[in-house]
Structure formats: C-alpha cells, structure tokens
C-alpha cells in the first residue's frame, strides 16, 4: 500500500486529507485507485492519457522519469510536485 501525499490545492478533492493510501504497482494504477476513492482526482493530474506536463511524481524521494509507467513499491511514498526543469525554470512555460 503506497502512501500518496496530496498537494495542498488538491486536498479539497480528498476531503482535506494530506495523505492517503492507495494500491497499484505503477503510477498509473495508483492514480486509478485514487480515482476510485475520490472521483474527479484523475482529471487533475492526467490529460490525454498522460501525466499533465505541469505535474511530476516523486517516488521515495526521487523524481520519476517514466510517467504513468513508473513502478511503485509495496510501501512507496509518492508525492505529486510541480514539474520543473531546473535551470529552465518551470517545465511548463505557459
């Protein structure tokens, strides 16, 4: 069961909870499980079948690079964070 930390502005979707528990062995499966628990969550993080460009996923302290396909461990800690490109500034140059 992975622990998923919810960004502050999305906590209204998870009834105010800062972190929730979800099952799945990939990021995509985790998000699907969260959607089952809190309908509407998926649209906040997924667009056209992929992670939104503005969102990155940190798994056990490391920014994951495989998008929805990244594997998640039995007791992983997952954070959704803004996607950033380092010296480029925000990955999303709106």
């Amino acid at each position: 069961m992975a622990t998923v930390f919810i960004p502050a502005l999305m906590r209204k979707l998870t009834r105010g909870q800062e972190s929730i528990v979800a099952t799945g062995s990939t990021v995509g499966q985790i998000i699907n499980d969260i959607e089952n628990q809190f309908p509407g969550f998926r649209n906040y993080v997924i667009e056209s079948g992929e992670l939104k460009p503005s969102i990155a996923v940190s798994i056990d302290g490391e920014i994951a690079t495989g998008g929805l396909l990244d594997s998640v461990g039995e007791s992983s800690e997952i954070h959704f964070v803004p996607a950033l490109g380092g010296g480029v500034g925000p990955r999303v140059i709106r």
Partner: protein, 752 residues
Amino acid sequence: MASGTTQEFNIIGTRPVRPDGVDKVTGRAKYGADYSFPGMLHGKVLRSPHAHARIKSINYEKALKLPGVKAVVVGKDLPELESKIEFIGEISLNPHYLAHNVLARDKVLYNGHAVAAVAATSLHIAEEALALIEVDYEVLPPLLDVRDAMKADAPILHPSLRNKEEPDKPTNVANHVQFKRGDLAAGFAAADYIVEREFDTSMVHQGYIEPHNAVGVYTSDGHATIYCSTQGPFDVRSMSARVLGMPVGNIKVVPAEIGGGFGGKTTIYLEPLAVALSKATGKPVKMIMTRSEVLRATGPTSGSHIKVKMGATKDGKLTAAEVWMAYEAGAFPGSPVMAGAMTILAPYVLEHLQIDGYDVVLNKPKTAAYRAPGATNAAFGSETVIDELAEKCGIDPIQFRIMNGAKEGSLQPAGPPFKRIGFIETCQAIANSEHYKSKLTGKNRGRGVAAGFWFNAGMQSTATVNIHADGSASVVTGSPDIGGSRASMSMIAAEVLGLPISEVRAVVADTDSIGHADVTGGSRVTFATGMAVFEAAHDAVRQLKERAARIWERKFEEVDFQAGKAISKNNGVPPMSVKDLAAKFPRTGGPITGRASVSARGVGAAFAVCCVDVEVDPDTAKVQVLRATIAQDAGRAIHPSYVEGQMQGGTAQGIGWALNEEYFYDNQGLMRNSGFLDYRMPTCLDLPLIEAIIVEVPNPGHPLGVRGVGEVSIVPPPAAVANAIYRATGVRMTELPMSPSRLFKATHKKGS
C-alpha cells in the same frame, strides 16, 4: 558502481587545460555573431515603443522601397496557434504565447515587443528601414506593479487567461501554487519570537555579455538551418518549427559557441524570424540584438513582492513559517514562482509551514530562467528573517542554521523527503573557514551569512564515444558548453577508457548529428550528460573487451579492462591497449562506437552558504564588498577549477543583484536604463577575490557522486549582503537592490 565511498581517480578531480581553450584565447572560436555566408543579408527587428497598446495597422511599403531592403515579415505572416499547453519537443508550453512573444499580432505587451522584422543587404540599411515602417498604435495604460496586477479592478492583459481556482474569471494571476503541512497557528503559538517582514525585489537580467544572435538559412527543399548561440539547440529546433509551422525534422540547429546564457538563452527570439526572412528572400539572414534590445526584449527574471513570517523558540528551534509571494511573469504567464516556493526554506526542518506563490502577468518582457530561477528572490526574504531570528535568540547565524538544518529524510517544502544531502557540511565549511573565524574590525563594517538551495535537474541526454584509428577518442554530445563542460566530458570518458586527457576530445554536435539532449541549464550537464558519457564510455569498453576476446579466441568473461588495457584474466597473453585494439579494428570487425542515452534519475540537490564582509560609506551609502566566501556541496568535483568558476560566477551575479542591478521603468512602462552603463553589473573593481570552498558529499544517485554545481551559488548572496549591511549600519533592508540611493534613505531615515 560504488558511490559515496572513496574512489581513486586518475583524471577526475585534476585540473587539465580545457580542450576548446586555445580557440577561445586566440579569437578563433566561432560564436553565433561570427558566422558569415555568401550573399548573407542582415535582419533587424522593429520593436514597440509602448508598454501596452493595440496594433491598429502596420504599413511597410516605404520600407520595402528602400534600396537594399529585401523583405519584411510581420505577425500575420506566421501561423496563428491555438492557446493551450502542449509538448513542444520535450518541453511543454503554450505555443500561442510563445509565437506572440516572437512577433506581436494584435497587441503589444511590453516596451520592446517585436512588431516586424526586416532583411536588407547591410545592417545599416536594415536599421534605416525600421524607421520607414509605419505602425498605428492605440496606446493603453500599462500595468507595471505585481500587486496592482492582482487587484480585482486591474485592467486585464489577456482576456482569455484563467487560473485553475476561478476558471470563469478573467484574471492576471495565471497560476497559484501552495505547499502546506502541519498547523500554522499551533506552530506560531509555540514560538517565543516571531519575525514578519515584507520584501520587494526588482526585475534583473542574466547579463550575459554576448547578445542574442541567429543566422537562418532556408533552402528551397523546405529545410532550414539555424546557427545560433543557445543553451538548448533541440529546444530551438522544436520551438522554431512550431512557431513557423514547419516539421521539426526539417530544421537543423547548429549550436555556435555561446557567450553566456544563465538560463536566458533557453528559448527563441530571433531564430524563427531569421528563418522567415531567409524564406522570403532566398538568402541566409543574420540577426543580432543590440544591448538595449537584449535588456528590453529578452527574458529577465521576475521582480517580486514577498512576505515572510517565521517563528522560533528562544532555544533557536524554528517552529513555523508562512510565506506569500507574487512574482512578475512579464507579458505572458510563466514566472519561476513555483521554483521559488519549492526552494524557500528548503534548508530547514519545519513541521508547520504554508507557502503561497502567485504567477502574475504585467506589461514587462516575458521572464525567462535566470540561474536557479525563483530561488534568489525567495531566499532574500527567508534568509534575512532567519538572520533576525538567530539574533533575537542570541545564537550565531551559522549555528542557528545547523541546529535547524535539513538532513537525509527531512521534508522539502513541496513534500518529498531529501535523499543524502550536504547542507550541514556546507554550513560547517563556512563555520570552519578562515574568513568566518577571522575578526572583522573597522567602522561601518559588517559580516553576513546566508544559505541557498537548488534541486538541480536530471532530464535527457545522449552521448557517443568514438574510438579513432589511433586509439584516441572523441566524445559527442548535444550539450552546448557554457562553463567548460567539454573539459569534464573528456575527463569522464578518459577516466573510463584509461586514456590520457590529451587523447580525448569533446564535441558539441548539431541536432542532426546526435540524439536528443535537453538544455544546458538546470545544473545538469556534468550530472546527466556526464552520466550519458560515462555509460557510453563503458559501452565502448564493453565492445573493446569483446573485440579482445575475439582476437584472443577467449570468452568475454575472461577479459578484464583496466587502466586503458584489455587484459586476459587467465594466461600470459600480453594486454592490449586501446591503441593496439584500434589498430586492428578494420580486420577484426570494424570500428567501435559506444553510445548511451539517459533520462537521468538520482539527481542530487545542492546547497550553498555564502559569507560576505562589507563596508558601507556613511556619506554615500555605497557598499564595498571587502571579502566573500562561498561554500557549496558539489558531490564530486570533476574539474575543480570549473566548479570553483561556477561558484565564483554565481556569487558575483548575486552580489550585483544585491547591490545595483534593477530594471528602471518610468510610469509609461519604458525601460530607462537599457544599457550596461546604467544597468550596473559588478566590474573587476567592485569585487574582491572570491574564495570558493568545494564541499563533497557524494550523491549516491550518480555513478561518480556528481551534484549539479552551476546554479545554487547565486541564491545566498543578496541575503548575505543584506545581513552584512545590517551589522554595518543597524538597518535591515527589505528591498533589492540595496543601491546607494535606497540604502541612504534607509540609513538616514533612522536618524542615526
């Protein structure tokens, strides 16, 4: 590969002369403006004299009639792109905004906004032609202050702009980011001391000495080549293709040497215009910006308004922090406020925090990245408040930071825990430094310290390592060399191949000749491109071992590779060096090229701590920096001289940001100091020697322990200088820059 343990290296950690150096000291190196082609035309851009206006009409007939003028391009000649976020190559952005920034359509949004582009047979004729283009503007009132732009009754810059929180309301606030954990009220209730301050920082520019340039060559087969100085040739390719409506594969970008970037040369300005003019004329077109154009019409970084409130117990334990920040995005959305929110307070353990950041559009140039974008503004606020709290607690400012310092497992502001980091070690390096231990004597003098954090980037890189017929090697990547990275790329390959550094050359290739590389920026080249080079060199070694096994008629497992030689593990076959093997390539299976591409994980975060001594002239309020020391965790310094160079360069930029640099806009929104005389960057005479202390807490995520080094050194200096000025004058400055006029007002208001 064991990292984090002591590793013995032959080449890594030494200081060889960089392989591209001779061309640079003799003037032979070709930067973008040095390119010349037969029949080449010169292009110039007509720019808006107004900060905010509607374009009613553009008439360029007279310009076209001027002898020597060959073409004019305006906004309507480029495709109109839908406003939405999409992936352009490997980065995501809104192509509508990008295209409108390259060439205005119905509105101009800042003084300097490009309105038309002209190509002529000489630069001077092109300039004359600009004066003959007639633009009818309906001038609108400019929005120049970030807090005014957030007000409910503010004029709206982009009628269709909405943010996620109020999806039906027109707004100038493009984005809101928030990080929150714990219970703020409880945290502040537990504090014995609370400090609350508001800060204002000015828009500043990266200040690279080389202006933007591009040569566009469009050929009748629908292909184009762009020669330009850029940090990201692959991004230039995909962004230009999108703006021009051309297939990405039809554009080749050849990165010239680049005369500084610091994040400002990661997007496009002239490139699509040069191609469009080349298409219209059938000739190569060269375009170079003047310094005034660079300052007014490229991508400075945000000015900001920041509120910081922090609490600590009298024993010096931080209990809570509340931050509110509004950053200027410029004419289009996309300030680095998110990065500011992710880096502020990162060096500290904080159970209760809330950080709110707002991305706000206004009538100034669209901001671009500037070395640790967003972090310096934020640290100016937090690091001066921390200094005040430390003073109230009666605790040495370095010790205060160590006491509250983040370690492995501590939570970052955005939530994820840190992996192994070296913040405490970096603080200790300053605490133990000769500078910090020395006494500062004399009147009007003060010492200040501050810390900074940058997460660094991983991202994608490709590398090939070619073994030549004589056993020497070339390393090919797509990462333009801004700071000497060709040296470290050669060193990494040479270390793995066991070759002397003189036999390995690093090459920066064009977008057709190497696989994708993300931008040179984000402190990522030594980390990620270095990782690709490391793996490509190992791939070459694997093939060399296979070749030796074939030659010796042994199994692959029986061959070892050490110190540049293939060695048979079992019997007395003499070892074969890379040179020996290469000599046999043609008759044993052909040439050997190692290759690798990475989407680099295992990024190591970087911390820097800066200590400065200043003297403030009591009559003029001029600040002289007497001594400066910067300590930074580099993980592992591949070439220490170039690591020191990054540290010293960032510190110098931070000092300029602290003391003199600002965009001065009049109330019409025109920049009044768009030249190097009045946009005042530090000269040789303004700075002391800068001591750079490299701390090495190896990054366990990288085979050589590397952490990115290029950016974080710019983050602490403004706060360090402010803290030093406080000790020299008794005045806490909350505005940047702390120029003589501002400091004079503040010190004389105090009535001291």
